[in-house]
Amino acid sequence: MNENLAERLNELPDLLSGHVLLSLSAILVGLAISLPLGVFAAPRKRFAAAVLNIAGVIQTIPGLALLALMVPLLGGTIGYAPAFMALMLYSILPILRNTVVGLQGVEPGVVEAARGLGLTQKQRLWQIELPLALPVIVAGVRTSIVWVVGAATLATPVGAPSLGNYIFAGLQTRNWLSVLFGCLFAAGLAVVLDQLIRLLEVAARDRRKMLAVQVGALLSALVVASVLPRFVEFTPPAQPQISQQFASVRAEEGALDDEIVRLGAKAFTEQYILAELMEQVLVDAGAEVERLDNLGSIIAFDALRNNEIDAYIDYTGTIWATVMARDEPINRHAMFVEMAAYLREEHGILTLGRMGFENAYGFAMRADQAEALGIRSLADLAVHAGALEVGGDAEVFTRSEWINTRDAYGLGAISTRAMDATFMYDAVRDGQVDVISAYTTDGRIAAYDLVVLADPRGILPPYDAVILLSPEAAERPGLADALAGLVGSISDDDMREANRLADLERQTPQQAASWLYEQVTE
């Protein structure tokens, strides 16, 4: 745990800086849009109603969905841009609404007095209306800050580093300390910014220049402190050194000297371990590695297609269903060949090869319960379908493999329950659900004494792990050479064990990857 905490703290400057810059830039631009818009809209009742409605609709889109939607809207760009756009849109409503309400709420008698005394429209706005509406506007800005700083944790899945990295990674690896860490820092940041703005308002209202200067200095210090980690190199924590001489997997040392390689990873344990493994291989070859973890499934693929990441690991069945939109059954080897050809022709993506193991969807249940009910394969489930509940991640029940399995084995009567993948193994172990759509490489299958039900009709598609290189990375022979050693190097058992180390033995993905590295270099 202590080592874990130290590692978490190591990442803090980068994540906090990403979070602050993302939130503040979104709010500042949001402010620059919503304030003038509010001033323009306030005296125009119909226009005001229209823009408030539009902003209101944006606000009702769940934060995660809005962030994810920005990726295709920006042509597949990941990282700062889509996160910024979504949060900026998110920040508009509270400021806009409060500006309109604040200005409309200025007593008409006061405005008329200002007209009667000969103030021009501009003088009325700056000297009378805005100062009187200020408390309401500031309240809007504060609401906006709290929302945006909170929602910025959702920037992680679209590839923008934020305190959400702690939360998402922690959720996947069941590291609750990490989740708590992310929440506390995000909440703390929101409170600090909120209070700074409140003090600015007090300073403006009471004309306390000193206070304004102090708060301004604090805000600037926060921004400088956030920008700094972008330019200052932090010494990275020492990489675990593996000193075996078996060079088949290890790339030639120095082959990638000073080349920058950007690696992506989706948001689950196995992906962290594999990204870490690739990183160790590349670092040994002299490359400098940048990582984008916790990407959404499609977002990772889009990022690769657009050369925003150079390489990541995906699974044949996933590409088959989500990218190629195919759902007919096909054997494992044919699928790989067709997929590789398709990716090369359609997107210029190079499929370097299969890693050796398969991480398929399989339906698992407790061994003792399976035995008691006489269930060995999916076909045996039909009899008990009405009395059973299947748990699975949110994705699986919308996929054709579930729909095909259900239809092929007559499981229409079975009830389903979507939950985060992290929780489903414990849920089936504790009897909260009867069957889960397990990942076949998960270490908990053996550890929890679960059995994967046979699929006699071959409905479930194959999920070979494959190393994919972006169109640009495909043109870098050194990179392909360095990673080629990993092709065919990892067995199902090795992967399951590495996952178990991380998920159940509380090892970090780095440690699990180092263990895996040792296995493959032997």
Binding site: V110, R115, G116, L117, G118
Partner: protein, 259 residues
């Protein structure tokens, strides 16, 4: 119409028709002599406030012309015109985020007077309306009584040294004692400073006490205009005598009590 000297203000066949077609003011002609007070009175919705706003171009006439100091008001820049003419409104209309000093200094600041002149002016105005500079200068409107606020309202209107002051129900929101006080102070101020004034009021008694000249309005038209004694002696019709009845009855009742 009895006039002494050249008129400060002349209304020549002024009309105001709103875009909805409502005729708020119909062909009104009036003139106001230097140092005089003209009261516009009549029941609610008779057009008296609209007429007042036509003078400093808070509203633009749809017919006729408003002549101020010999020139059509449309020849003035509207903002300059308003700074030149004093403006007092019902319920004071003070800026709640300005102190008393800042409220009074609004017009001098708009006229870009230097700081010393402005400060001198603020002090003088506060003395004129009988508010202690040290005690009240730094207070905000919500820290004042209704009467004190209205005094600041007058000080603010007079700070730019206007020769014409427009007042919209300036005394109406006050309790009777404060109102009486302020009305007398106002008369004194007017004779000291010599400005002319137009007062919109629905209170005939107030018009009779304060005005040199009263114009009674109904449906946007002048029904009768003249000095208070002319109106009392010969009301033009039932509407005017109706308006005069209330103060008359009250005077009679009070006279009877006094024996």
């Amino acid at each position: 119409m009895s006039n002494s000297g050249k008129p400060v203000l002349e209304l020549r066949g002024v009309s105001k028709q709103y875009s909805g077609g409502v005729k708020a003011v119909r062909e009104v002609s009036l003139s106001l002599g230097e140092g005089k007070l003209l009261a516009l009175t009549g029941t609610s919705g008779c057009g008296k406030t609209t007429l007042l706003k036509l003078i400093n171009r808070l509203e633009e006439p749809s017919g006729g012309s408003v002549v101020y100091e010999g020139a059509d008001v449309r020849q003035f820049d509207a903002f300059r015109l308003r700074r030149q003419i004093g403006w007092v409104m019902q319920g004071d209309g003070l800026f709640p985020h300005f102190t008393v000093r800042q409220n009074i200094a609004v017009v001098p600041r708009l006229l870009e007077w230097d700081i010393a002149t402005t400060e001198l002016c603020v002090r003088k105005m506060m003395q004129l309306v009988q508010l202690d500079v040290e005690e009240f200068g730094g207070r905000y409107p919500h820290e004042l009584s209704g009467g004190q606020r209205q005094r600041v309202g007058f000080a603010r209107a007079l700070a730019g040294k206007p020769d014409l002051v427009l007042m919209d129900e300036a005394f109406s929101a006050l309790d009777p004692l404060t109102r009486d006080d302020l009305q007398r102070d106002f008369k004194r101020l007017q004779s000291e400073l010599g400005f002319s004034a137009v007062l919109v009021t629905h209170d005939m008694a107030e018009a009779l006490i304060l005005a040199d000249e009263i114009a009674v309005m109904r449906d946007g038209q002048i029904v009768q205009s003249g000095t208070p004694s002319q109106l009392l002696a010969a009301p033009a019709d039932d509407y005017v005598s109706g308006l005069l009845d209330t103060p008359r009855r009250q005077m009679r009742a009070i006279a009877e009590l006094g024996g």
